[in-house]
Amino acid sequence: MIDILAGLGYPTITPNGDLGFLNLAPIEVADEQSLRYDGTKVRLLNQDKSVITEFSLNQDVEVRYPSLSFVPTSNYLVLVDIENEEVINDKQYPLQKRQFIILNRQGDRVFTAELLVPLGSRRLWDTDESGNIYYLSCKPKGAEICRINIPTR
């Protein structure tokens, strides 16, 4: 069976593995197709528009690539940011710096991690059922797989 669903934001997977939407604008001013972003709240919604979790954003946090952001647990939001457009001309392949900015629900930055990914790659990171984050970063000797432990509280 094929259903047509309303778009409530950026489609994403919720921490329990279901379809959710990362909504970057308050529900009351966003229409169903809106991907607008007012810069103060990020909400993770169920398909029925109910709010799973909500995060405040400080004015100084700029989400330049919101479609890459994800919610590993209901307590934390990970903004994936490209630090700058600089491409590091590695001898083997051009690489680009990315940064995981982990925010709590109050919008405080609680952790930052940096990684180097090949230009053109899509999503070299993932989570598990506990919300831990795994990522691939290109190091001089090879592709390193790392884990960020996320507190359960």
Binding site: I2, I13, Y93, C138, K139, G142, A143, N149
Partner: protein, 190 residues
């Protein structure tokens, strides 16, 4: 007395710092060395440039942690897509090649069971004539065998035509039950 008090305070501060650091930490698990062997990761800058992209370049493209605790790395190789599955210690468990060309694909996804979903570009296709020579969505199991979904593909095409579908936006999403979601622009709702 003062010295003892200071010592206690210092110890408490050190304990607090250690506790805060223990909350969030990054742990390297394993490294896949560069190279073209099955248990290596290829990172090669190609020589044939088309629209700013090196079509014959090779690089890791997507990472997925599987339900089994294994890691799947999907890479772009000259011959097509290359899938490697490593255990949590970094030992290669299996690998397979897929002849899909990344240039033909709008979006790719891998679910937690290791199934690969390939969504092709639709622009330029004769949708009105129900062109189904090449599938819109191809699915491969975690051993690289293509899963037949001809009926679903036909239904998908019909649905896209019914909503006067224009083109997909964003990447496809697959939930824990294997249900596939394809974000598209629906002009009638704009």
């Amino acid at each position: 007395m003062m010295r003892r008090w200071l010592s206690c305070v210092m110890s408490w501060m050190l304990l607090c710092a250690a506790w805060v650091n223990a909350q969030f930490s990054t742990t390297p698990l394993f490294t896949v060395p560069y190279g073209t062997a099955a248990n290596q990761n290829s990172l090669v800058k190609g020589s044939t440039q088309t629209e700013g992209d090196f079509v014959d370049s090779e690089y890791p493209f997507l990472l997925r942690r599987l339900r089994t605790g294994e890691f799947l790395i999907l890479s772009k190789r000259k011959s097509g897509l290359f899938v490697q599955i490593f255990n949590s210690s970094g030992q290669l468990q299996r690998s397979w090649e897929c002849n899909e060309s990344i240039g033909d694909l709008y979006s790719l996804e891998v679910d937690r069971q290791g199934r690969l979903y390939c969504l092709r570009y639709l622009e330029g296709r004769n949708l009105q004539n129900g062109q189904t020579k090449q599938q819109i969505l191809s699915i491969y199991d975690n051993n690289g065998k293509q899963i037949s979904n001809n009926d679903y593909d036909k239904l998908l095409l019909e649905n896209l035509m019914n909503i006067k579908f224009e083109f997909p936006i964003l990447d496809l999403v697959v939930d824990r039950k294997g249900v596939v979601y394809i974000p598209v622009i629906n002009p009638s709702k704009e």
